[in-house]
């Protein structure tokens, strides 16, 4: 009997139904169950290693934080921001500054126990002067997500910051969309949904693409999958129940992340992509992110939040993936943007010396530094923004 591809490849249709009698009929289900059980045992025994690999790759091991310390940043790096929301210091009793940005703010290369991140170091320095700093960093954070953080914190007097310090990163202008966890975060807050909608309506004329994207985000999060994760639905309970029995279900996110990471590495290997491989801007995404930055600036002004952006430090020795002319154009645009919106901002790209940077895929890492880089950045940010962060700092000086 000639068998066709469709009979063996499960995505193709029209396979012949199994035939046979009695025990022969049971052979296929038994093999199926055995292989599935084997997968479960493999996943179960490797889950911890897979998670550890991901944490290592993200350089975001929260177990190295002081367990006795009240969190002063989102230690989940955007994966479970709700959990850390309650730790944002009360803005009604302190001056609150949020430090928002991408992975540079939450990763320390070769981190040792007790080493702190930029936001925590700034908090150490400024708390005695009545200013509390809280870190909201996530890998590849883009401007739409930064806007979400601004609108979400600004919506509640407890979390409404006096200053919003934002680390602007050129290559994050290639990223768009809210990550699924932040979609869930937005969906779970009806008042924030309303603010999101109103903001989109208010800026529709000035920033048409970004506000269209905001409305599209709303459409996206009205889909059942986000609803299901936002509420304690039957679906959620079933998933949790099954997760307690089947390791494949329990560790599906770790497994998914591990597979994605391996595919990413495979792609880099096959296409010879390195951390220094040039990544030209993507015109439409770039424009969209510029508009989002515009909304952030306008909205900060409207809410009387001091927006304090800075261009993030880069490794001076590492060949970065930016096309030099594009990066130069970005910096000159950002300078114009700063004056147009009357922003107090700082370019820190040359702040951290080469010896304070990490290594990635065998090459000098151009964006993530060692602990010393965090100390240096925290000191610099506290110094340059001091006048805007500490009450009466200017007159004291």
């Amino acid at each position: 009997m000639a068998l066709s591809t469709s009979e063996a490849v499960p995505v193709a249709a029209d396979a012949t139904p199994a035939r046979g009698r009695n025990w022969r009929n049971l052979r296929a289900p038994i093999v199926f169950v055995c292989v599935f059980a084997w997968f479960n045992s493999i996943v179960d025994s490797h889950a911890a290693r897979m998670r550890a690999e991901q944490v290592r790759d993200r350089m975001a091991d929260a177990s190295l934080d002081d367990p006795n310390e009240v969190p002063r940043r989102d230690r989940s790096c955007g994966e479970s921001v709700e959990e850390y929301w309650k730790y944002i210091p009360d803005a009604r009793s302190h001056r609150l500054a949020l430090l928002v940005g991408m992975s540079q703010q939450h990763s320390i290369y070769e981190r040792k126990q007790g080493q702190r991140l930029t936001s925590e170091l700034m908090d150490d320095e400024l708390a005695r002067e009545g200013v509390r700093v809280f870190g909201l960093a996530a890998p590849n954070l883009n401007n739409e997500e930064a806007l979400l953080y601004m609108l979400a914190t600004g919506a509640d007097p407890r979390t409404r910051p006096h200053a919003f310090i934002y680390g602007v990163c050129f290559d994050k202008m290639r990223n768009i969309d809210l990550r699924p966890r932040l979609q869930t975060f937005l969906h779970g807050r009806p008042e924030l949904l309303e603010i999101w909608r109103e903001t989109a309506a208010r800026y529709a004329k000035r920033y048409p693409t970004a506000t269209s994207k905001m409305l599209q985000t709303l459409e996206q999060i009205s889909q059942p999958e986000v609803v299901a994760t936002a509420e304690d639905t039957v679906e959620r309970r079933l998933r949790n129940r099954l997760a307690s029995v089947l390791p494949v279900v329990e560790h599906r996110e770790a497994l998914n992340g591990w597979i994605q990471q391996k595919l990413y590495e495979l792609r880099n290997l096959v296409l010879n992509i390195k951390t220094s491989s040039k990544r030209p801007i993507m015109a439409a995404r770039y424009d969209l992110n510029r508009e989002f930055l515009g909304i952030i600036a306008d909205e900060a002004k409207a809410k009387q939040i001091d927006l304090l952006p800075y261009v993030i430090p880069l490794n001076p020795l590492s060949e970065n993936p930016y096309v030099p002319a594009e990066y130069a154009a970005f910096k000159s645009w950002f300078a114009e943007f700063g004056s147009e919106h009357d922003l107090f901002w700082k370019n820190l790209e040359s702040l951290v010396p080469s010896e304070e940077w990490g290594v990635m895929f065998g090459e000098p890492d151009f964006k993530h530094f060692r602990y010393a880089g965090h100390v240096r950045t925290a000191r610099e940010l506290s110094a340059v923004f001091r006048e805007r962060l500490v009450p009466n700092a200017a007159s004291a000086k």
């Binding site: 009997m1 000639a2 068998l3 066709s4 591809t5 469709s6 009979e7 063996a8 490849v9 499960p10 995505v11 193709a12 249709a13 396979a15 139904p17 199994a18 022969r24 009929n25 052979r27 296929a28 289900p29 093999v31 199926f32 169950v33 292989v35 599935f36 997968f39 768009i176 969309d177 699924p180 048409p208 693409t209 269209s212 994207k213 409305l215 599209q216 889909q223 059942p224 999958e225 299901a228 039957v234 679906e235 079933l238 998933r239 099954l242 494949v248 279900v249 599906r252 497994l255 998914n256 597979i259 990413y264 792609r267 030209p280 993507m282 015109a283 439409a284 995404r285 424009d287 969209l288």
Partner: protein, 464 residues
Amino acid sequence: MIFTSYTYASFLLATFLVHWCLPARARPYLLIAASYVFYASWSWPYAFLLLALTLGNWAYARFVLDRPDGEPGPLWPGIAMNIAVLVFFKYADFALENVAAVARLGGSDWQPRALNIILPLGVSFFTFQGVAYLIDVASGERSFQRLRDFVLYKAFWPQLIAGPIIRPAEIREQLSVPRVLRYADISEGARRILQGAFKKVVLADTLATQVDLAFLHDASPNMFDTLVGTLGFGFQIYFDFSGYSDIAIGSARLFGYTFPENFARPYSACSPQEFWNRWHMTLSRWIRDYLFTPLSMMMRSRPALQPLCLVIAMALCGLWHGAAWTFVLWGVWHGSALALQRTLLRGVFAASGNAARALQWLLTIGIVFAGWLVFRAPSLHDLGVHLQALFTLRGGLRPALIRESGCLVILLISGFAMLTTWLHALPLPRFLAGPWLRPALYATVLVSVITMDREATAFIYFQF
């Protein structure tokens, strides 16, 4: 209750177990109850709409159209009942918008308030099914005598939301004879469900995350975004909808019912007509039998106008997909392609030989995928932006919206899909389909579905 959710899996398993434990006469009632639970889990008030329409259709067919004296009553009130429901829920806002647009052309500043009616899930499917049933009965087919059978025919959940659009003749026999539990049905049903889940969760949803970015409203895509995005969408909608159909067919099979197929490797088609014989087959034949055939009968005295019937029928098919001009345009595009196949391009599509087949296939794929661009564009304005990007070669081979890795994902999945289409008939070594490797492969597929699952995303065809 989305087909790829854990809730649906539990619902299916529970119904399956109870169904086969009950005495044969009670089983249809259980399926009816389960179907209404399934529908009401989305919106219970609309379950009453479904019930009312079901009773209306049954009564109209039974007492008006299928009279003992052999003289059927008028057909149009029955059809109007179904179409009125469809028009009210699906097209009221669209109609208002367009009336206002016409009024604005005449200088009026009338701005109607949007009714914002929530579309009952599956309304396009169950109203079409109702129309077809009434026409069939008026044409001489026997009506359902037992209300129970008709209620189950209309409400049976696997086909309720997005088809396949089943004709009474295809299921009447199955509804009247008690179903028997057979190993082959369970095995085949489970396989089709797994296959559908794989298509939806692993392939369609992976494509969707990339494709959606290419069609961002008001953005400025490059030519490459438009090309890759359209390619990706063509496969996304195929995997999404054929995956849904697989789960529907598989679910019904678990209860002993066999549904008609809805897809047969549509992207291997070598002409627009062949494409429609392979794509959403149950809708295609509905359009052919209940729209195109009556239209062409009406115009049989004017053969020159026959191609126009195709365009009208397909334009209505497009409108059925959604209340937007992009859908109508998509229908007109396909109608025109079908008309051209019968007229100007008859020679091209009738030629034989390998080279001719290759050319026909390329032409058909080009037509179909160009159609997907029209179908997926968020608005006519966005369609214009995409066409501009395409014809001005904007950006060359550099994307502006889809990341390079996203393009790679789309190209890989599209390549895989075409490979399985082309290799469909090739013989494979026996061991690949043997009793050991095949179940192992299915277990791997199940693990991949669980791993890639993004918590039950809605199927594209739910919006239609």
